[in-house]
């Protein structure tokens, strides 16, 4: 995290709304980054933490916990072009329902977000529709074609949060090298979906025992790892910063561990679904398309390597890769179904259940990985519960258990990999950007 520098040019618009005015009464108030862990009241006046509680609405939060709101640096809002799956309003409502106070949206839209004008129109739209502060990650290359660099400098000036070619990784090493060189001029972080498509081939699931048994073409873990090795080498050579998206394979964890040990400026994220699930479910479920995403769910040794790496800091943060798809498209045979699962509304509950209830880390460690660390890596405002901070927080009931799918989703899509799972630790209230954006029982 030593590479953290805030990026004041990032624009994170949110729709206009009333400032939150509320007293959250009798909660545990936990903000590990600010060194806060106390029982009592948290006052929010005019959207800012602290101040005079007189005359404010009082919310009884006995037994509940207030944490800094989550920051999700990897979501798909499907605008423009695929608004039948999600749009800025529904995607960010989904974020609010998950205790997420800032999202960054990927550029694999139709057309791709690859020019300052498209970015500008998205920022304008977010300023009217976004329930929580929302930033955008334009493409590294025009049309995500891996050839011509987009206008990195102009995009940075226009408020881009980072750059990524998302699911169509830059295949040409020379193009990637130029992008990394140019980082010194444009000063935008690259957030990289890492995959050597020639190794992934026609693969649709993890190459492992299950793919061998059922005959689906496999995507080997090394497809991810070799691309990470390449880009870590290039980043080291060009003294550039890179962030690795949704690490899935143990081979990749090893590459990142080695790169960090030799001082490469690399950070990495992992998704809740890769932390909780393995390719076993693809083999066992009669309707496995709900478990189809890229990178794929991998083996149990991969999953364990990811958890250990998240604990020891090799992996820095958690991001959902929230990827809405209409149910109709997921009803195809596995190979024909689209890659991707939604995740904003269940990320906290899933990770809390697996990692905290499961005894792998304490709540403070989880909050750092879901809120503080991702904000710092991307140079975004760090959610804080300290007096004077803007209210970007979630109130969570750590004892409440829900079965995923029994409550309606705020997202437009329902393609949840966790459907049917019992998850403990539910978000009951979210304040984002100083606004009161979500109440579970409202």
């Amino acid at each position: 995290m030593s590479t953290y520098v805030s990026n004041p040019r990032v624009r994170l618009p949110q729709r206009p709304g009333a400032r939150a005015n509320v007293v959250i009464r009798g909660a545990r108030i936990l903000d590990p980054a600010a060194g806060i862990d106390r029982e009592g009241d948290l006052v929010v006046r005019d959207g800012v933490i602290g101040g005079d509680p007189d005359g404010l609405e009082v919310v009884d939060a006995t037994g509940l916990t207030v944490i800094p709101g989550l920051v999700d640096v990897h979501v798909h809002l499907r605008t423009p072009g695929k608004e039948h799956a999600e749009d800025i309003a529904t995607g960010t409502a989904s974020a609010a329902a998950g205790g997420v106070v800032t999202v960054l949206a990927m550029p694999n839209t139709q057309p791709p977000t690859d020019s300052p004008s498209i970015l500008g129109s998205l920022l304008d739209r977010a300023a009217r529709e976004a329930v929580v502060p929302t930033g955008f990650i334009p493409a590294i290359t025009v049309g995500q074609m891996g050839d011509q660099l987009t206008e990195h400098g102009d995009l940075a000036e226009a408020g881009a949060a980072a750059l990524s070619d998302d699911g169509v990784p830059v295949a040409n090493a020379s193009v990637m090298r130029r992008a990394l060189q140019y980082q010194k001029a444009a000063d935008l972080l690259f957030t990289l979906h890492e995959e050597d498509m020639s190794l992934s081939g026609t693969g649709v699931m993890h190459e492992g025992v299950i793919s061998a048994r059922i005959g689906l073409a496999g995507i080997p873990g090394v497809s991810e790892a070799v691309q990470v090795a390449r880009d870590c080498s290039l980043a080291a050579y060009e003294d550039a910063r890179i962030h690795i998206c949704h690490v899935s394979a143990r081979e990749t964890v090893e590459e990142i561990r080695l790169a960090k040990a030799r001082g490469v400026s690399v950070t990495a994220e992992v998704t809740p679904h890769h932390l909780l699930l393995t390719d076993q479910v693809v083999g066992d479920d009669p309707d496995p398309a709900k478990f189809k995403m890229n990178p794929p769910l991998r083996g149990s040794d991969d999953r364990e390597a990811l958890i250990e790496a998240l604990i020891d800091g090799t992996l820095d943060c958690i991001a959902t890769d929230h990827a809405p798809h209409p149910a109709d498209e997921k009803e195809n045979p596995f190979a024909a179904a689209p890659f991707g699962v939604i995740g904003l509304e269940t990320a906290f509950a899933a990770c809390h259940t697996e990692l905290v209830v499961g005894g792998r880390m304490d709540l403070s460690d989880l909050v750092l990985r879901m809120s503080t660390n991702p904000a710092r890596i991307f140079g975004l405002p760090v959610p804080s519960l300290a007096d004077g901070a803007r209210a970007d927080l979630a109130v969570v009931d750590l004892a409440a258990t829900d079965v995923v799918g029994e409550r309606p989703y705020a997202s437009k899509s329902t393609n949840a990999a966790f459907v049917g799972m019992q998850l403990t630790g539910q978000v009951v209230m979210t304040l984002a950007g100083g606004q009161d954006v979500y109440r579970r029982n409202a």
Partner: protein, 318 residues
């Protein structure tokens, strides 16, 4: 949703289930030796053959099997279907469901297509080959062929040779032979074997053709050039033939050769072996009919455990 018992993967059957189907096939085999080869067993039942990938022997044998059992059979083949107009598999099945079929026999280029069909029909679903997934009726007819032509499967050693990676025949066959107590060895170029196959299916894997020496049965797999795309899984077919072709110089007396067809003569198997009367290739093709009759009978029989009272045989020929 499927209320009837389906056969989508060989693992849907246990040893008893396989034995039951092979026993039924024996009895249908007797019927097929009669002058009139038709029985009224499935009269009034409707079988829809949905073949969305090229097929000759499987589609023919399923169609004939349904007809010999007196079922009403409709065969729908790839080109010219409403799926060419963008209809999804789900909607195709829902439409055909209006005719209240009893069985869907499905061949499809994608793994798992039969599961999609089963979710949208109350008919039984029989997998006639789903992409690189499974081909359970082929495995059953292979067991039937070995049992009839050689010996009980238990204790035999079967070597599968060639393109295992793209082979649904191998995937179902390896499991089926293992389930029935055979030892199975896979011999193939390392590029044509799924990594983890040995662990997944419980077989020995070798890259050396000499490891077929101990096998009682050498099962030759077709080089599936149509699934390989560009880039080549082996340097050339000529080198493949030199290193892995099953021919008389590599076979010892008494070894029996199988191939699910269609064969690439001179590639995975020499023409002389194909034409050698001791191979089981023709027997396999011939046995497809009675085994598929038995499968159709089995998925439609009321009880999966009761002995089927000699289906058709006790009934008068239609």
């Amino acid at each position: 949703m499927s209320a009837r018992s389906s056969l989508i993967r060989i693992g849907d059957l246990d040893v008893d289930g396989i034995g039951r189907i092979l026993g039924t096939a024996e009895r249908f085999g007797e019927v097929m030796e009669r002058d009139i080869k038709k029985v009224p067993t499935l009269r009034g039942r409707t079988v829809i053959n949905l073949f969305l990938e090229p097929s000759t022997r499987t589609s023919t044998s399923f169609e004939l099997a349904a007809k010999r059992l007196s079922a009403d059979v409709v065969s729908i083949k790839g080109a010219g279907t409403s799926m060419d107009k963008g209809e999804t598999l789900k909607d195709t099945i829902r439409t055909l469901e209006a005719y209240d079929p009893d069985v869907f026999v499905v061949r499809h280029p994608q793994v798992g297509a039969c599961d999609v069909v089963a979710r949208h029909t109350s008919a039984a679903v029989v997998n006639a080959g789903d992409g690189t997934g499974e081909h359970p009726t082929q495995a059953l007819l292979d067991l039937y062929t070995v049992q009839r032509e050689i010996a009980p499967v238990e204790g035999l050693h079967v070597a599968f040779v060639g393109d295992v990676l793209h082979s649904r025949v191998a995937r179902s066959g390896i499991s089926a032979f293992r389930m029935m107590g055979a030892k199975v060895t896979v011999v193939a170029p390392p590029t044509l074997v799924p990594r983890y196959l040995g662990e997944a299916l419980g077989t020995e894997v070798s890259a050396d053709i000499r490891d077929i020496a101990d096998a009682d049965v050498v099962y030759v797999l077709r080089m599936q050039l149509e699934r390989m795309g560009t880039g080549g899984f082996v340097p050339s077919l000529e080198e493949y033939a030199r290193m892995y072709q099953v021919n008389h110089s590599r076979l010892r007396t008494g070894q029996r050769v199988m191939h699910a067809g269609p064969v690439n003569r001179g590639v995975e198997i020499s023409g002389k072996v194909v034409d050698d009367p001791s191979t089981l290739i023709e027997a396999q093709a011939g046995n497809g009919l009675v085994v598929r009759m038995a499968v159709l009978y089995d998925v439609l029989s009321e009880s999966q455990t009761a002995a089927p009272g000699v289906p058709g045989v006790t009934l008068e020929a239609a």
